[in-house]
């Protein structure tokens, strides 16, 4: 393994991550995983450092994952949720950011409903910023943990047929995965109703189809996305029933995949809609492994951004 100098101050998206950087993060996460197997799941690497979780969108799982990651590294983790606060009183993102920055955290982890919000934040604070999801743009930690999860179970990414099925249009998870998995050589397939599958997606080199059978056939990895009812102003498809009949994954359709194919989902799952009960609980689902891997990836990133002297400073 080559020595690499980590130079990033922020993790805003995977769009400009090199393959070396991706591998470096994954390798760091491997060491973090070992910490998670111990009885005492704590190392002092981030002792005395402060991580602020700035979440403008409801999210228990990602926020908890970052919180646990920080605490495992002995960091002080502070949670800031937008409803109970200054934002509700009309404070701008800029002012909120500056106020928090004035308290000198080492890292701000932010989730925000507007695309590009993390990039904006990084230009106005002095600490590091990790994007935990910005609008429909990117969710870089998810992209990395999905990649690492697949690596652990398949040993490689290059040449695997990875199919992502669901609301592609609004999914920041897809966009980050296109960068991570695409760059590492996966054969990516995107599938969903035409209304949720913009034609521009084909430009990035992914295969695009409206036929779930075509997407699942001979796939090594099938990733299901949650249908996001809360995002739609006018329905993009007629009804949940029609959606689950045409784009839901059940045993029948999944049998078209490779025998050792795995099922993934960024969560939370709509059981019976995009994924049948049976498959969600089956041995081929690595959904819970994703969650576990998520903590290790987030520990790795927190460590890389705050665990040493930042060359980029």
């Amino acid at each position: 393994m080559n020595r690499m100098d980590w130079r990033r101050k922020h993790v805003l998206g995977l769009a400009d991550f090199s393959t070396e950087e991706i591998e470096f993060v994954v390798d760091t996460a491997r060491s973090m995983e070992e910490v998670l197997t111990r009885d005492i799941k704590k190392v002092p690497a981030l002792r005395g450092k402060t991580v602020v979780n700035l979440f403008f969108e409801a999210s228990t799982r990602t926020r908890t994952s970052f919180e646990i990651a920080g605490k495992r590294l002995s960091a002080d983790v502070v949670n800031f949720s937008s409803t109970s606060s200054s934002v509700a009183k009309g404070e701008t993102l800029l002012d909120t950011a500056r106020n928090i920055d004035a308290m000198k955290p080492n890292i701000i982890v932010m989730r925000h409903p507007a695309s590009g919000a993390a990039h904006f934040l990084s230009r106005h604070v002095s600490c590091s910023v990790i994007n935990a999801g910005d609008g429909s743009n990117e969710h870089p930690t998810q992209g990395l943990l999905d990649l690492f999860s697949i690596l652990k179970v398949k040993g490689k990414i290059k040449g695997l047929k990875v199919s992502i099925i669901g609301d592609i249009l609004h999914s920041r998870v897809v966009r980050s995965n296109l960068h991570s998995l695409g760059r590492m050589g996966a054969d990516l397939w995107l599938c969903g109703p035409s209304t949720l599958l913009p034609r521009e997606m084909a430009r990035g080199g992914a295969n695009v189809t409206n036929d779930i059978r075509e997407a699942v056939r001979d796939a090594d990895v099938v990733m299901m996305l949650r249908i996001q009812l809360e995002r739609q102003k006018t329905a993009y498809f007629p009804s949940i029933r029609e959606y689950s009949r045409t784009y839901g994954l059940n045993s029948g359709i999944f049998s078209l995949a490779k025998k050792d194919a795995v099922i993934m989902h960024p969560g939370p799952i709509n059981r019976g809609v995009e994924l049948s009960d049976e498959l969600a609980d089956s041995a081929q689902s690595i959904i819970l492994n994703q969650v576990e891997t998520g903590v290790a990836i987030r520990m790795a990133l927190l460590y890389l951004l705050a665990g040493g002297h930042n060359a980029a400073h």
Binding site: A235, Y236, P238
Partner: protein, 434 residues
């Protein structure tokens, strides 16, 4: 076994236009034999089609059967009887029934009733939105699986362009077709006849040309935006035809239809407050009538469909502005269209295409619209020279709202076969199958 012998076999799908005989067995076209002679001994019924045209069974792509819900105006039995009498072996029925055909159960009901009581193939169109309220899409895939061949809120336009956009995009994945009744309701609100000199003289509030033109433009551009397929129904205006022509030149996936009354009548027909000349879109001016004709001649318009809209006397025998919209048309569509042949601008093959091959192609109806070997034995035999008068007593539909009574017609369907069954016959010695 059945032999249709010695007629002029016109099949636009294969390009055939020659004298020949058609052998039919088990509901399918078995063979087409060239020439006028019969193949010696034939074990089955023989229909002498000498001097007649033998066309692929006609398909009316725009029919209101009113069943379920308005059975006093028409039902599946009477509607298909009227279709057969008019020369049609297939009809495509709209979704504005009661309940609306927005649920697979209604689709299945229509198909099953047609199968047991109908004298024509019935292809249901399902609604684009639930209850035709224009708010939520119906379950396209499930409706298609129940037998719907296309989607339309006809009777009404889809008012919300965002919803039409989503519907077109969604349908694109499955190559489903949306048929659109093009009307900008904000402009047509309150109108009862074409906005023009006649309506003005009669004091009737008008429906401007722009109400149709704007909607057609919108629909075409949304089809362009989404890459979806759309079919514009009952085009009545010159600009409407021009827009369709432009769309086709641009290579967009747009098709269009018109009804016989739009190239036969003008708004002069409402003179005397004749409610049997009231429909939506309304009869327009002479310039529009000529443009519609031109559109048929140059191929811009793909299909002629009757927009058969039966209404009981009660809703027509009243003041003009309060009368219901629509006229029956199954039994007059073909004869009125035969007038297109005068002057040679429209050939018999083109006519057959407008009424049969094109609807089959546009809707993807397998085995229909063609006389090739293996196709369903849907055949329409036309006597192009028959001269007759259209009378109330002839009408098979339950309703009588037509402005064409007393008209002298030339050309008539004298026999119709539907999957090998004779559903209509005026030929001596050839009774229809019960």
């Amino acid at each position: 076994m059945l032999l249709i012998e010695g007629g002029r076999v016109i099949d636009p799908e294969t390009g055939k236009d020659e004298t020949g005989s058609i052998v039919i067995a088990e509901g399918k076209i078995m063979d087409i034999l060239p020439g006028a002679g019969s193949p010696g001994k034939f074990d089955g019924r023989v229909i002498d089609a000498g001097g007649k045209w033998v066309l692929p069974g006609l398909i009316d792509m725009h029919v209101h059967l009113r069943d379920p819900g308005y059975e006093w105006k028409e039902d599946i039995r009477s509607g298909t009887a009227a279709a057969a009498a008019g020369g049609f072996s297939s009809v495509v029925c709209m979704a504005n029934t009661s309940p609306v055909n927005d649920h697979p159960e209604v689709t299945r009901y229509i198909r099953e009733k047609a199968a047991s009581q109908g004298t024509a193939n019935v292809f249901p169109v399902a609604a684009v939105t639930r209850g035709m309220e224009g708010k939520e899409m119906t379950d396209f895939v499930e409706l298609f699986e129940a037998g719907a061949v296309a989607f339309s809120d006809d009777g009404k336009p889809i008012r919300n362009p965002l919803l039409l956009r989503r519907a077109l995009e969604y349908a694109r994945a499955f190559d489903f077709l949306i048929l659109e009744h093009a009307e900008e309701c904000e402009l047509s609100e309150g109108g009862a006849a074409n906005e023009g000199w006649t309506a003005f003289r009669l004091g009737i509030p008008g429906i401007p040309h722009a109400a149709e033109e704007i909607a057609i433009a919108r629909d075409i551009l949304l089809a362009r935006q989404t890459g979806g397929r759309i079919h514009i129904q009952h085009i009545s205006t010159k600009m409407g035809v021009d827009l369709l022509r432009m769309a086709k030149r641009a290579g967009l996936r747009v098709t269009g239809e018109t009804a016989p009354h739009y190239f036969t009548l003008t708004d002069a027909a409402i003179e005397g407050y004749n409610t049997n000349a009231k429909m939506n879109p309304p009869l327009r001016g002479e310039e529009d009538r000529m443009a519609v004709l031109e559109g048929i001649v140059d191929g811009t318009i793909d299909v002629i469909a009757s927009d058969h809209a039966p209404h009981d006397m009660l809703t027509k025998r009243c003041e003009f502005v309060g009368a219901s919209n629509g006229i029956i048309g199954l039994e007059t569509a073909l004869p009125l269209s035969m007038a297109l042949l005068a002057g040679g601008k429209v050939s018999p093959a083109r006519l057959a295409d407008l009424f049969s091959a094109a609807p089959a192609r546009i809707l993807g109806l397998k085995g229909k619209g063609s006389l090739r070997r293996g196709a369903d034995a849907d055949v329409t035999i036309v006597d192009p020279d028959a001269e007759w008068e259209f009378r109330e007593s002839d009408v098979r539909s339950k309703s009588q709202n037509s402005p064409f009574f007393g008209w002298k017609m030339k050309g008539r369907a004298v026999a119709v076969l539907c999957r090998g069954r004779i559903t209509h016959s005026l030929l001596r010695g050839v009774p229809p199958d019960v």
